[in-house]
Symmetry: C2
Subunit: 155 residues, 2 copies
DNA sequence: ATGTAATTGAAAATACTTTTCAATTAGATT
DNA sequence: AATCTAATTGAAAAGTATTTTCAATTACAT
């Protein structure tokens, strides 16, 4: 289990949740995953380490992790069913269109934009949501010859 | 039927689609709607003008409108099942957390951010999504006394 | 070790969306 | 205006995703 998963375990405990075998398995999968994963994908991967895990528990654990801000839903045109780790603070996701790799980045300075929009519309702006899409270095290299060979695109 | 709906009708024809009674009803509802609407909500409202409309047709029409860029899915924490008008070009949505009102805005200047992230990560950035959330002027006034009376929050 | 409330998975229920297909219809052509 | 034809339609069925229910199990405080 990676260090990030251990850290997440502590956070769960801190928030009053029990650290069960099933939850550990789910944490380990998402913390280790470099791509966004749907509940079903988390289920499949986590069952390697914990075969008696139920899909219901995956949904419930993802819900808790979201609530704690450790995981965030990745929104795609196709659908919004997958999740990626989000390490707590304010950050956004950069997603590879080819392989699904997700990179987290911080330091979005949107204040000039937010202020302008607030002034024009009269809204009080309370939150923002930003996602970037592109091609990761590995997929760039691959597409020079034949595309996306280093990892399959998500279904 | 509003001017926007008529304009959308022309666009459909231009793209080779037939302008049916059912599609007109759907266009009219979304073009007139100030809030994001789920397929079921569009269905309910459009059936006032067109009682024999089927939900399947609503899904199919939303699909076409999305494809033409006239409508865009609104992504919320709770779910991503609703749509709002998007008038063609590059723009983003500002959404009221209380009543669901959606305002479109243009002129997001993210280039410094995009460049910085591209440099740090090695990604080629191809697209971005941005949504702002806040409280609209009407809901601000209302919450001074008791909240969201001018329109119900979405289910 | 014991107690207890939290957690679990299976099954059922609910929700959302797409597919299928025979009947209808928009709009082009006469 | 009447005719034609491919596009479009809605109902029903199928498919997929998610939540709820509930009795059995379990983490962990004591
Ligand atoms: Zn990639
Ligand atoms: Zn979404
Ligand atoms: Zn409002
Ligand atoms: Zn933009």
């Amino acid at each position: 289990m990676s260090t990030e998963a251990e850290e997440w375990g502590k956070q769960l405990r801190l928030a009053g949740y029990k650290l069960t075998r099933q939850r550990r398995a789910v944490l380990a999968v998402i913390a280790a995953g470099e791509t966004h994963l749907s509940p079903a994908e988390v289920y499949d991967q986590a069952r390697i380490a914990c075969p008696d895990l139920g899909l219901t528990t995956v949904y419930r654990t993802l819900e808790i992790l979201s609530e704690l801000g450790l995981v965030r839903r990745v929104h795609l045109e196709k659908g919004c069913h997958s999740f990626a780790s989000a390490s707590g603070g304010h950050s956004h996701h950069l997603i590879c269109n080819k392989c699904g790799e997700v990179i987290e980045f911080e330091g979005c300075d949107l204040s000039p934009l937010l202020e302008r929009v607030a002034q024009r519309t009269g809204f009080v702006i309370e939150a923002h949501w930003l996602e970037l899409f592109g091609t990761c270095p590995a997929c760039q290299r691959v597409s020079e010859n034949s595309p996306q060979r280093h990892q399959d695109t998500k279904k």
